[in-house]
């Protein structure tokens, strides 16, 4: 039998594959891989439960009426009060300043990183000259550099060459540095989707390059710019290593606080502050997704924004 005949034979036999004999589920799966394999679906749901349940349990214990982080003794908001209410018996005066520092850094990082990143993305996408390739390569490096290497390098140059005092300013410079690349990637994706035609049209009609970018490209890029804003907020508020290395004193952020207290502080106020922070970063990511999906819908794109995020790659 020649190969063509074998293939024809196999093709003819396919109806038998569609209606498989009932010899156990595994067998069914192998006989008909286009059906829903139950093993994989159970595995996936178990994975999802395993990946989220520990965090939900930690959130639950932030509402515990007792001190325990493993036996739930009733619902209470006392660990949240311990953050801001200085009459509360568990009041921890370090938590509120840490929350303030985290928010301050994130809010300051947002506009600076977004402005630098959007400029870099537009410049790199349209600039065809020498240097564009290496600038592109340089821009990706912060994403693959382990944070301790970045933290150590900035710590060493601030303390030995720039003589820049470690603290809020240094932390801000650090946060902007690792956020820029994310902005570039989000913006670049949109830039490729938009293409160069609109600017060409604007310039053919007499706009200067600056005018074309300001009046045509920036409005088209607005969804990407806004979602970069919120992504930067989320990654800045979650950062731990860079913040630690660039902090001398009075610049403790929430992640630094969690890190130093996680093993010994035996009370759920840590869970409460961690929950607040997690809610903040999830809200900002949800906003970013909503902005992108509103944009996609308006432009009749099939893919959902969540899928865009799943393909969020370097």
């Amino acid at each position: 039998m020649t190969t063509t005949e074998a293939a024809t034979q196999a093709a003819l036999e396919r109806p038998a594959v569609v209606a498989p004999p009932k010899i156990g589920r595994i067998r069914t799966f192998f006989a008909n891989p286009w059906g829903k394999p139950r093993f994989l679906s159970v595995w996936t749901w178990l994975y999802i439960i395993w990946s989220i349940a520990p965090v939900l349990i930690a959130v639950q214990f932030s509402f515990n009426a007792g001190r325990s982080r493993s036996t739930f003794q009733g619902f209470s908001m006392q660990w949240y009060q311990a953050i801001w209410d200085n009459t509360s018996e568990n009041f921890d005066e370090t938590l509120l300043p840490a929350l303030g520092q985290s928010l301050k850094l994130a809010l300051l990082t947002m506009p600076i990183a977004t402005a630098l990143g959007v400029g870099l993305a537009i410049g790199l996408a349209r600039w065809r000259g020498r240097g564009a390739g290496s600038a592109n390569f340089l821009m990706l490096f912060p994403l693959v550099t382990p944070e301790i290497v970045m933290g150590a390098s900035m710590f060493l140059i601030f303390s030995n060459l720039y003589h820049f005092r470690l603290g809020t300013g240094a932390q801000l410079l650090g946060h902007v540095t690792f956020s820029i690349s994310y902005v570039v990637i989000v913006t670049r994706g949109r830039l490729f989707a938009i293409g160069g035609d609109y600017e060409e049209a604007a310039m053919d009609l007499g706009a200067s390059p600056a005018g074309a970018i300001r009046r045509v490209l920036i409005p088209l890029l607005m969804p990407a710019i806004l979602s970069s804003f919120f992504i930067v907020f989320a990654i800045s508020i979650d950062d731990f290593v860079i913040s630690t290395y660039l902090c001398a004193q009075d610049c403790t952020t929430i992640p630094i606080k969690i890190y130093s207290a996680a093993r010994n502080a035996g009370n759920p106020s840590l869970n409460a502050i961690a929950t607040i922070m997690m809610v903040l970063s999830l809200i900002s990511i949800a906003i970013a997704v909503l902005i992108l999906s509103a944009f996609n819908r308006r432009h009749g794109s099939e893919a959902s924004a969540v899928e865009d995020f799943a393909r969020f790659e370097i």
Partner: protein
């Protein structure tokens, strides 16, 4: 018209680099030069009286004393060598577990997500955007070994007839498993995501073709799906290996035991241990960067190639 366009093109030549310039200058000052600072401190000297580091900014003045003595520690058993071997074992085991656990998940969502795809993706991405420390804190709570308040896992285990005392997750052989659990839990979303993207891109008609040509479902998987997802597997593995090699907070949070320290802990210990230790910390950072440099460049080159193909 040709003349006018020529004028605009001429203007464009400087305009786009100028837009990119602030970002590029920022990255050079705060990303590239700091790398040089690591070298300058590692190859510098120390003040005789206060032991303060004196960085050598001029490569001609580089001294390799601290660097070679730090590097030679890797050749002696114990100390940094043990930490380095432990790091390698942790990373290899964790990445393998991520593959075994993560591949079926990515495969299922990409192929069989159906109507639930968006929900599954949202749940899969959620941990990606939760603070890493929050997720570690969750496990610190669950695995607590405090006698007065043992964690939930120990409470559950002790309801079993053959477990009569709480398991000490932070000591002995079990502590290695605790750290590996932390690493897998922390990094697995970053592995699944690129893998999902690669599996989702596979054209279904290629699989149908394989089936039509007589391949069994198993051999379709081995000979078509798996090779086509190879790029995604490699991308996912590299993207989680890089931060794992520089990790120090996971072992510190999960067990805080000196028996579980990684290379990152040695760097952290030296850099936070006062200025006199800076040259040693810088040398270790350089050695780590050199070790993982090949991985970083492999990843960036393959990403650049993929981007070029996508644009074509």
């Amino acid at each position: 018209m040709a003349l006018a366009t020529g004028g605009v093109v001429g203007q464009r030549r400087w305009y786009y680099p100028a837009l990119a310039a602030p970002g590029i200058i920022w990255l050079i000052l705060l990303f590239v030069l700091p790398f040089y600072a690591i070298a300058a401190v590692a190859f510098g000297t120390r003040d005789q009286i206060f032991a303060l580091p004196i960085p050598a900014w001029n490569p001609l003045e580089w001294q390799f004393e601290t660097f070679t003595s730090t590097a030679s520690e890797f050749l002696r058993s114990g100390g940094i060598q043990a930490q380095f071997i432990r790091t390698l074992v942790y990373v290899v085991v964790s990445v393998s577990i991520c593959f075994v656990v993560g591949y079926p998940v990515a495969y299922y969502i990409a192929r069989y997500g159906g109507r639930l795809k968006v929900l599954l993706l949202t749940l899969m991405i959620a941990p990606f955007w939760m603070s890493y420390l929050m997720r570690m804190l969750a496990w610190v709570n669950l695995l607590s070994v405090k006698p007065e308040d043992p964690g939930l896992v120990n409470r559950l285990l002790m309801t079993l007839p053959f477990v009569d005392h709480p398991i000490a997750w932070n000591s002995g052989t079990v502590s290695h498993l605790t750290v590996i659990l932390g690493l897998v839990y922390g990094y697995i979303p970053f592995f699944i995501l690129p893998l999902y993207a690669a599996l989702d891109r596979i054209d279904k008609s290629q699989l149908e073709a394989a089936r039509d040509m007589g391949a069994s479902p198993a051999s379709t998987f081995w000979r078509v799906t798996l090779p086509l997802s190879k790029q995604g597997i490699l991308a996912g593995a590299v993207i989680i290996m890089l931060p794992m090699f520089g990790d120090y907070y996971t072992p510190n949070l999960m067990t805080a035991s000196p028996g579980n320290t990684m290379v990152g802990n040695a760097i952290d210990f030296a850099l936070q241990g006062g200025q006199g230790q800076q040259p040693k910390g810088a040398s270790l950072t350089l050695l780590l960067s050199a070790f993982i440099g090949a991985l970083m460049i492999y990843y960036l080159v393959s990403v650049a190639r993929a981007a070029k193909e996508a644009r074509r």
